[in-house]
């Protein structure tokens, strides 16, 4: 006997976030567990996050009906296997089976940004948009694309790789092996690394540490510290945030010109910094709009937004995926599907 609650899980490079939702669509519990300290193929943080979210909902394993999981990487959704997730060190991991064995309920696995993007379609926050991108900015940078109401995954499920577009051919070496990828300027680890390097250079030339109190208050510097410092007016942090914002703005602009999207929604750990993260992006887009009527037409103000930090787009997509797993009526090809179901099916079959 399975329960009426479903869980959606967002697995990131640093943490696993779980959301437990009831039949009425109300969020009943939420929990976050660090991904650090797990074994190589360890799903302990995922299990712990789901159990903690259930507990927060005043429920237990027996109340759970299904689980949907979003993973940053290449996923075989039919088999429920993570083909490759570089940031997590997973290769051919049968994640759905491992989770199913733990909870005894159906589990679906999908690419995180695609799951988030398809989950956003139909939500009031997108105001009826049919073509949109969910851009995750965190440990890595990637986009999930819904085009004309359909999740676009590409020939091998690799669409949306904007994080490895070249932003600066002379830039830093990326973990993918290329030089100057968007990620080397605007992802969480590189923002932290660039800020630490700039701080070290400033200190080496005699700048007193208390000129940068937030950056020097205690190691290690993270992207979060950088944006807090930027919000407080720290010059080094502002410069790093500005560079990251400018680079992201160029990638978003190219994405909009390529796909003519109605909406780009930013999420992920780094985007969670909110205004200090979005402001440099908006400033750069404003500059482009004032210079070009085409850009003004195709990227109108308000078309690039940051999702509220607690929105949990990936986990929400996971919830939607979990719901479909316990749906009793299979899709009937002769009778057609609603738009939502087309998206839904594309995201996990």
């Amino acid at each position: 006997m399975t329960g009426s609650l479903v869980a959606g899980v967002d697995i990131g490079g640093t943490k696993a976030a779980a959301l437990v939702v009831d039949e009425a669509g109300e969020t009943r519990g939420r929990a976050v567990e660090p991904m650090a300290g797990r074994s190589a193929t360890g799903i302990e943080p995922i299990v712990a996050a789901v159990r903690a979210a259930l507990e927060a909902a005043g429920a237990g394993d027996g109340d759970l009906g299904a689980i949907g999981v979003g993973v940053p990487g290449r996923i075989d959704s039919v088999a429920g296997t993570v083909s490759l997730a570089t940031n997590l060190g997973w290769h051919e991991l049968p994640l759905a089976r491992l989770i199913r064995n733990e909870f005894g309920v159906p589990c679906g696995v999908a690419n995180d940004v695609g799951l988030a993007a398809s989950g956003l379609i139909g939500h009031e926050i997108v105001r009826g948009a049919r073509s949109l991108a969910y851009v995750a900015v965190g440990t890595g940078i990637g986009a999930g694309l819904v085009l004309d109401g359909r999740l676009h995954q590409g020939d091998r499920g690799l669409a949306g790789e904007i994080g490895h577009a070249i932003a600066d051919p002379d830039g830093a070496v990326c973990r993918c092996g290329q030089r100057g990828c968007v990620e080397t300027v605007a992802s969480g680890p590189f923002i932290a690394r660039r800020a630490a390097a700039a701080l070290a250079a400033a200190l080496a030339t005699g700048t007193p540490p208390d000129a940068h109190p937030l950056l020097t208050s205690g190691p290690p510097i993270t992207a979060k510290t950088v944006y807090e410092a930027a919000a407080a007016g720290d010059t080094i942090a502002l410069a790093i945030a500005h560079e990251a914002g400018r680079t992201l703005a160029h990638a978003i602009e190219a994405l909009m010109l390529t796909c003519d999207l109605e909406l780009v929604l930013l999420g992920g750990g780094v985007a969670g910094a909110g205004p200090p993260f979005l402001e440099p992006i908006t400033a750069e887009l404003d500059r482009a709009r004032s210079a070009s009527a085409l850009v003004a037409l195709m990227i109108p103000p308000g078309s690039v937004r940051v999702l509220p930090e607690q929105f949990d787009a990936v986990a929400r997509g996971g919830v939607a995926l979990a719901r479909r797993l316990i749906r009793t009526d299979p899709p009937n090809p002769l009778h057609g599907d609603t738009e939502e179901e087309v998206v839904a099916r594309a995201s996990w079959t």
Partner: protein, 408 residues
């Protein structure tokens, strides 16, 4: 889910069945009625009824008997490629090209008119005159007119929102031509038309395909998931105006350093002006004669385009890219520069499976793509490889054909 099946009217069902049968004959003919019934899932009675209508309309004909599987040898049905003529127009940068095309994409007759000024009214008069001349040449019933033109086009109403080169702004081209000729008219962007042509007539129907047109400007036509994708405001594929050199030359769009300013044919010729070369044929001849300066300029432009192609395969994970437009005349040296840069600048996993090639001559591509659009809309042929044939899903009812219950 919304239950629609009960609402399909008899007429809708009939139209749906007719499209299904015609599409199957188009793709798989010669084919017997029995095989049609098996392949479509319709009853043999329904198939026979539909086929009678198609034969009456001249779209299908009986072409002899197939091998017997025991009983009487079955009569085979084939699509009548020459049952209709279509008018296709390519309103290009310096030449308007029009053609009479049959239902298989064969060009029966073509006319070219040079366009040397930028007067919007005159351009429209040229279109009218070209259509009149072509209609006079057709000797089959005319299905309609398909047009591919540069610029931002609202395909649903056939209006040219913005075409800088032709000086058209908000021109209801489709409505004007329809009023003048009484024929259905479909208008689309030239890069998109070329993408449709590659998709429909290019041999294999890949479900994802990007056609990049490099001429005066640079634009891409996107076939994604087997459908033409135009974007929220018909602007998808405007890659020519992505910034590649923030401190570069001024672009027509008002910004600096757009891809068009470094990789278009215009940009290449602009750089060769000081070298005494201003026309494309001269540049191509100099390249072929081994002029090192021309080669450097062409290769540099190809490399810039290669970066854009790497971006496209990263964003869309599309494994077939076709390059068309006047720059393709630079041939292998240019193509190699694009390809090498694409490989060097895209994730290995993405670039490995990608094929990059030069497409058929641009003029035919636009003409054929425009007529493919016309055929899909007017005959309901499933040319895009998807059950709903929804090129844009923009015409009410059309994209919902797969919601109809099939009467069997």
């Amino acid at each position: 889910m919304i239950e629609r099946s009960g609402k399909a009217t008899h007429q809708e069902t009939r139209a749906h069945n007719s499209r299904l049968v015609l599409g199957t004959i188009y793709d798989r003919g010669p084919i017997s009625r029995a095989a049609l019934a098996r392949s479509t899932g319709l009853t043999r009675t329904t198939v026979s009824d539909v086929v009678s209508d198609l034969i009456r309309d001249g779209l299908t004909r009986e072409v002899g008997r197939g091998p017997s599987t025991g009983g009487k040898a079955p009569i085979l049905l084939a699509f009548a490629d020459d049952a209709r003529h279509l008018v296709g127009l390519d309103l290009g940068e310096s030449v308007f090209r029009g053609a009479i095309v049959d239902l298989r994409g064969e060009i029966c007759s073509a006319i070219e008119v040079a366009v040397d000024d930028r007067d919007g009214n005159q351009a429209l008069e040229r279109v009218f005159s070209l259509v009149d001349q072509l209609l006079a040449r057709a000797d089959r019933p005319i299905l309609g007119i398909g047009i591919g033109t540069a610029g931002l086009i609202d395909t649903t109403i056939g209006t040219v929102l913005e075409a800088v080169n032709l000086d058209w702004h908000g021109l209801p081209l489709g409505a004007l031509l329809q009023a003048r000729t009484g024929l259905p008219v479909y208008v689309t962007n030239d890069s998109r038309a070329t993408a449709l042509a590659e998709h429909v007539f290019g041999g294999q129907r890949a479900s994802n395909l990007v056609v990049v047109k490099v001429g005066e400007g640079i634009g891409a036509g996107l076939i994604l998931g087997g459908r033409l994708f135009q974007g929220d405001g018909f602007g998808a594929g405007e890659i020519g105006h992505t910034t590649v050199r923030p401190d570069g030359d001024a672009c027509r769009c008002g910004r600096l350093g757009c891809l068009e300013t470094v990789a278009s044919t215009r940009a290449i010729l602009g750089q060769l002006a000081s070298h005494g070369i201003s026309r494309l044929p001269d540049a191509v001849a100099a390249l072929e004669a081994g002029d090192p300066l021309v080669r450097d300029v062409v290769v540099a432009a190809g490399r810039q385009l290669g970066l854009a192609v790497a971006w496209l395969i990263g964003v869309l994970n599309v494994e077939r890219i076709v390059l068309v437009g006047s720059a393709a005349e630079f041939g292998e040296p240019w193509l190699s520069a694009v390809r090498e840069t694409m490989w060097a600048s895209a994730l290995g996993l993405l670039a490995d499976g990608t094929t990059l090639e030069i497409g058929r001559p641009h003029a035919d591509g636009v003409v054929l793509g425009a007529t493919a659009l016309l055929m899909t809309r007017e005959l309901g042929l499933n040319l895009t490889g998807l059950p709903d044939a929804g090129l844009e899903g923009a015409v009410a009812g059309e994209s919902e054909s797969d919601d109809l219950e099939i009467s069997a």
